[in-house]
């Protein structure tokens, strides 16, 4: 009602006062309208601020303190926790392990998954296509914790399925304490992760490939292009957006790894399989050092923020229209 009378008043003023006055009135009216709309967004802004941005900012403040969770004592230490990060060999080891995770995940969950998706989508029989999609996707439907436990038993020395298989095929000399050796523990965990994540990426790529018009392949076939040439000249360029997204998402995921490491090795032996997430947990909950744990949290945040910004940049710049 008020809005209606305001509009009528401004219209009359416009007739009497000229075009310049009319624009100002219209701008004021528009601002009022948008502010009215904004109030509906304020609740959402407060919720997002409280649950997303406040913890991030507060975590930074916590990282500049030493806190004792039992006494509640909080002492400001400035950037000491960050200086300590630089001298902490386990932090560098954890960063390396997260990096390894990212490299292997990009190789298997992006490039190998892409090739597999292309092979599956190349199958003529629809039933087989559906069958293989399901076969590769099933591991992704299992929780990471359960998969971690499953692989913990598979890797068990002597009684595990892997070593039993090696014995069965006469390769007992290859049997090994995969999770118990500092040199192999992280690779054993990464292998499990690839097994689990591979099918999910494959499914996403199959969806991307399905969007490519069949005519392009038909034309290429008429022109004499073989399957591999079609893969590199049609499938790969036209799924480049998905590939870029998958690389970024996979790298970001590699810096958030936690469950599988916790379940399979707890970061051991001798911290050799620590990743940033598990080292944060160890410092905060086992060593009662919440300030330092928060500093590790900031490192994880920065790593994932960079990949997140890359993701935003990529989706704006690299869009390929079919």
């Amino acid at each position: 009602m008020k809005m209606g009378s305001a509009t009528a008043t401004s219209h009359n003023s416009a007739v009497k006062g000229g075009a310049a006055f009319d624009r100002r009135a219209w701008a004021r009216h528009s601002l009022l309208q948008q502010l009215a709309a904004l109030r509906w967004g304020i609740a959402a802004l407060i919720i997002v601020g409280w649950f997303v941005y406040y913890p991030i900012i507060d975590n930074f403040f916590v990282s500049t303190t030493n806190q004792d969770i039992f006494t509640g004592e909080v002492n400001a230490v400035g950037l000491d926790n960050y200086r300590r990060l630089l001298d902490d060999q386990v932090v560098w080891l954890a960063l390396r392990n997260n990096g390894l995770y990212a490299v292997f995940s990009v190789i298997f969950q992006v490039f190998a998954a892409f090739v597999l998706a292309a092979i599956i989508e190349g199958l003529r029989n629809r039933t087989w296509r559906n069958f293989w999609r399901a076969v590769y996707f099933i591991p992704s439907a299992i929780s990471t914790t359960v998969t971690g436990l499953l692989f913990y038993f598979i890797y068990q020395p002597d009684i595990g399925l892997l070593d039993a298989f090696l014995h069965l095929v006469g390769l007992q000399n290859l049997s090994y304490t995969w999770l118990g050796d500092e040199r192999t523990a992280i690779y054993a965990i990464i292998a499990m992760s690839q097994w689990q994540g591979f099918g999910y990426s494959t499914l996403l790529f199959t969806i991307a490939i399905q969007k490519i018009p069949r005519e392009l392949y038909d034309a290429a076939t008429i022109d004499g292009a073989g399957a591999i040439r079609q893969l590199f000249s049609i499938t790969f360029p036209l799924t480049r957006e998905m590939t870029g997204m998958m690389i970024i998402v996979t790298i970001a995921g590699a810096f958030q790894v936690f469950n599988e490491v916790m379940v399979m090795t707890g970061g051991g032996p001798n911290n050799s399989s620590q990743v940033l997430g598990t080292w944060l947990y160890e410092q905060g909950f086992n060593q009662n050092d919440m300030g330092y744990a928060a500093a590790i949290g900031v490192v994880i945040f920065v790593a994932t923020l960079i990949t997140g910004l890359l993701q935003l940049w990529y989706t704006k710049r690299r869009r390929v229209e079919v």
């Binding site: 904004l38 967004g41 507060d58 909080v74 009684i159 001798n270 919440m290």
Partner: protein, 445 residues
């Protein structure tokens, strides 16, 4: 215009976030509990809810607290008991999460040593001296050594529930088949391992995936090789030196035991439960275990039957420089949250929990936890091994606390990860002791 609206929206969000952040950051993130608000000996109001964090989350143990809670609720219909049951591995993380969020239940599990001291430093435990001190009616019903283990600065803060200690469980039939006697010293144990290995079984199953099982081996070996007063000096980072040659000697003994009795560096790849299963499945001849596990490693359902199970104290080396009559172990018990709304009710429940009847139930299979209640074990009903183990505990001249709960967390972490490296062969005994010394120096600051 649209741009300015977006800018103002972002500013509102940022201002609210920063405002909230500053407002809250000015108060401590984790406010410690205040002094106890109620007298533990006051008249009990039998109404309301009582929450309890237990360490009986294992399938075999969890019915104990459920049964006790039901019996207490039946006696006092106005009381509702809420149980949070965790196991050995999960209870540390759970407890710290509850502490950090000021959500400790009314009654919570605690080890002795530094772990328990943390709650007292933070005013999170009720001083129970008035009701459980050695001269009190309740205190006299419990093992004096166990009650004393929860004393800090002359005040009593914990209620011991059971006594725990570490012993070598073994398959008596396997030993008999090879004509082996219970080893009297460390060399005899190594020789027994050689004989057992020759017969095709694993002499000792060791699983160190969780990293604390080796700490238990080392605890007993340290008390054999390092004088008790030196160990106690080194438990405190401010006085710790870790310069006694017994530390390296104990580690060398462990190395010999791992190489001759277990699967070498494989130990880090096995969990302690898998190792215990190896004894139960008769794949291994020995497994170093807590007395509270006796009724789990040999049962009517396992391949190793209770009558085939025996135990002995880990044998000491002949030239031991420490205490050969010491035993690694400690009572475990419960504390009352200083912020509990019904402290007298919590104390009353703990009295009920440590009654003679409930103590006997705890010591009897399937639980087999040696009760801290005097007379809380009917020797005709409990596992004879548990009864003999309780006698061994009573004979011990010193109870060596667990290294991972008696030490400062940073020192404990150095022991835990260092021992994994030592077992895996990537760290020498000298380097391990040096890393522990370094951690103690850092912790003392």
């Amino acid at each position: 215009m649209q741009r300015s609206i977006h800018t103002s929206a972002a500013m509102i969000a940022a201002a609210s976030v920063i405002g909230i952040s500053w407002g809250i950051s000015s108060t401590p993130a984790f406010a410690a509990g205040d002094a106890p608000a109620a007298d533990p000996g006051a008249k009990v109001d039998y109404s309301g809810k009582l929450s309890i964090l237990t360490k009986f989350g294992l399938q075999q143990l969890s019915p104990y607290f459920v049964t006790i809670a039901k019996a207490y609720e039946a006696q006092h219909p106005g009381v509702k008991i809420e149980l949070i049951q965790e196991n050995d591995d999960s209870i540390k993380g759970k407890t710290k999460t509850l502490v950090a969020s000021n959500s400790l239940p009314d009654i919570y599990f605690s080890w002795t040593g530094t772990w328990g001291e943390n709650f007292i430093r933070g005013n999170r435990a009720v001083d129970l001296s008035k009701v459980i001190g050695p001269d009190t009616e309740w205190g006299k019903t419990l093992s004096p050594a166990a009650v004393k283990a929860f004393a800090y600065n002359g005040k009593y803060f914990g209620v011991p529930l059971y006594l725990d200690a570490k012993f070598m469980g073994y398959n008596k039939k396997m030993f008999a088949d090879l004509g082996l006697d219970v080893p009297k010293d460390f060399d005899a144990l190594l020789k027994a391992c050689d004989a057992l290995k020759g017969s095709g079984v694993i002499p000792i199953a060791i699983g160190n995936k969780e990293s604390w099982p080796l700490v238990h081996y080392l605890g007993q070996m340290l008390v054999y090789n390092v004088p008790v007063e030196t160990l106690e000096r080194d438990f405190d980072p401010k006085t710790a030196k870790f310069d006694d040659p017994g530390y390296v000697a104990a580690l060398d003994q462990y190395r010999a035991l791992q190489d001759r009795c277990a699967g070498g560096a494989q130990v880090n790849g096995l969990s302690y439960q898998t190792a215990m299963q190896s004894l139960s499945d008769k794949k291994a001849a020995m497994y170093y275990q807590e007395i509270i596990e006796f009724d789990q490693s040999a049962t009517k359902e396992t391949m190793l039957k209770p009558e085939e199970f025996g135990f002995f104290k880990l044998p000491a080396p002949k030239d031991a420089k420490g205490s050969v009559t010491a035993l690694e172990g400690a009572p475990e018990g419960y504390m009352v949250n200083a912020k509990s709304k019904n402290i007298p009710l919590a104390v009353d429940f703990l009295k009920f929990l440590t009654s003679q009847e409930n103590g006997k139930a705890l010591s009897t299979p399937p639980y087999g936890q040696p009760s801290a209640v005097i007379g809380g074990a009917d020797k005709t009903k409990i596992n004879p091994n548990v009864a003999d183990g309780m006698d061994e505990i009573a004979r011990a001249t010193y109870l060596m606390p667990w290294l991972d709960t008696v030490n400062h967390p940073r020192v404990a972490a150095a022991w835990l990860s260092g021992l994994q490296a030592f077992a895996g062969g990537s760290m020498s005994a000298e380097d391990l002791v040096a890393s522990v010394r370094k951690a103690a120096t850092a912790a003392a600051k």
